[in-house]
């Protein structure tokens, strides 16, 4: 059975067909209920998508970065060990880059806690070496650790995955929660459509009865209602998307002002906006199918 009717000369979608159900467009509460649901659905979907992209970036970072610290109060010995480690790490397979963090950068990192006047010999600080692996070469981590241990026992290898793993777990949980919220909103919207369709059937009971006696099929009658409900759903969906987009822009602006790399990584790329823009269309399709099934099932209980 075709979703948009068959062989009826399309009069059901013409002005003559629309006059069969005399209520004005967007006259009931349904478009506004759909707008609220779509507003919440877009926000939940945006949160899920942004977290998804953040999680992907985090995963790439976690799997490809280690930091090696050489903790030695003897500065010449520390520097010599760091240089040997840089050379050894660079020779390992699967290494994208090896970079020793300069003393100035370390001083910058410590400045918020130790102040700006930190002299080089006041406090022994470790030498730090950032190592990045090529994508897919996660197995090189063990080889790097072994190479570092062979050079000096005073070196410590910090795989970023160790301290980012709990954050990744939290993000994954939040993504699941966002997905569940989207599904719940979609289900609530579908139930709203079911109620609206049943109400419309009761309101237009006499017209439906006459149409049946004149030989209308269930599909023809359903088409009368589903077109109206689809229009209401599309209108509500677009309103919801518009309002949610404004909120997303406002929140994005706030996030940008925080200036944190970690929080700033939660952003919405263009592909995500494309997905969000599809939600009203998906909602309209869902509403149309829900309306059609509701009406046809209700009509099947009659002769």
């Amino acid at each position: 059975m075709a979703l948009f009717g068959r062989g009826s000369g399309n009069w059901l979608t013409s002005a003559a067909g629309r006059r069969l159900l005399p209520e004005g467009w967007l006259s009931g509460p349904m478009p506004w209920v759909i707008a609220i649901m779509m507003f919440l659905m877009v926000l939940a979907a945006a949160a899920g998508l942004a977290l998804g992209f953040a999680a992907r970036g985090l995963d790439n970072h976690m799997s490809s970065q280690i930091t090696i610290q050489v903790v030695d109060a003897n500065r010449p010995r520390r520097d010599a060990a760091a240089d040997r480690i840089v050379s050894a790490a660079a020779a390992l397979p699967g290494i994208a880059s090896v970079r020793r963090v300069s003393d100035r950068e370390i001083a910058e990192l410590l400045r918020p806690w130790l102040g700006a006047g930190l002299a080089e010999n006041d406090l022994p600080v470790p030498a730090m070496i950032d190592v990045a692996f090529l994508p897919g070469s996660r197995g090189s981590l063990a080889a790097a650790e072994a190479a570092v241990r062979a050079i000096t026992p005073r070196a410590r290898v910090d795989a970023h995955a160790q301290w980012l793993a709990p954050l990744a777990g939290l993000i994954a949980s939040l993504r699941w929660l966002a997905g569940v919220l989207v599904l719940l909103m979609a289900a609530a919207a579908a139930f709203t459509v079911v109620l609206a369709a049943r109400s419309a059937l009761n309101t237009h009971q006499a017209t439906i009865e006459v149409m049946h006696h004149l030989g209308s099929s269930d599909a023809q009658i359903a088409q009368l209602f589903q077109r109206r409900i689809a229009t209401d759903a599309l209108f509500g969906g677009l309103i919801g998307l518009l309002l949610a987009s404004l909120v997303i822009f406002a929140v994005g602006d706030r996030i940008a002002r925080v200036g944190s790399d970690l929080i700033g990584s939660v952003e919405l790329p263009a592909a995500a906006w494309g997905i969000l823009a599809m939600l009203p269309l998906a909602g309209t399709l869902l509403a149309t199918v829900a309306a059609r099934l509701t009406i046809i099932m209700a009509l099947r209980r009659r002769l």
Binding site: G17, R19, A206, V210, M211, H213, S217, R300, L303
Partner: protein, 236 residues
Amino acid sequence: MRPGAANIVQFENVGLRYGSGAETLSDLSFSLAAGAFYFLTGPSGAGKSSLLRLIYLAQRPSRGLIRMFGEDVVTLPRARIPGFRRRIGTVFQDFRLIPHLSAYENIALPLRVNGVAEADIDTPVREMLEWVGLSGRAYAKPATLSGGEQQRVAIARAVIGRPEILVADEPTGNVDPDMAGRLLYLFEALNKLGTTILVATHDLHLIPRVHHAQTLRLEAGRLDAGRLAPPIGSAG
């Protein structure tokens, strides 16, 4: 019955019961010949409207066999019922015009339901409006029409699709005798075009006005046959 005419409706031992009550119709066996004119009479409560509901497929019988257009309609799949209903014109006692549509649009409805192209609708609708004498009231809503005018719109709507059988429930119940005569004239004209006519009425004065009409009389849900078409297969 016209010689050689096939039966368009055939009832065999049909009974109808609403819920768990007594049978409204019992043991009905009769046939309606194609192209014939019938009156269905009987006192109020005799079951005339229930019998008509069985014929225009608004109801399935509790028992028995009903054949229409040569097919068993008791076990007819629901999906095929619309196709059968398009071959039946129905004039309801309460007209059942759609109140927010004009007379024109009410009459055009069966053509649209049947998938007739919009370009081919105007001419037959205007011819039908002229046939029932309502050309000047084409765009009037039912609420602004008199009872007789509404009845004529209902008749025009019932016949515009050229049904094979027209079923009318008390079509003269709401009109004066002059209008009743005009409506009967319309039915006779349609009958001459080959449509089988079945008119339920409690007005016995109408019957002699259609000379070739046959009469079925219902009494307490049972048929007291008058000059009926003989059942299929009988010698009569």
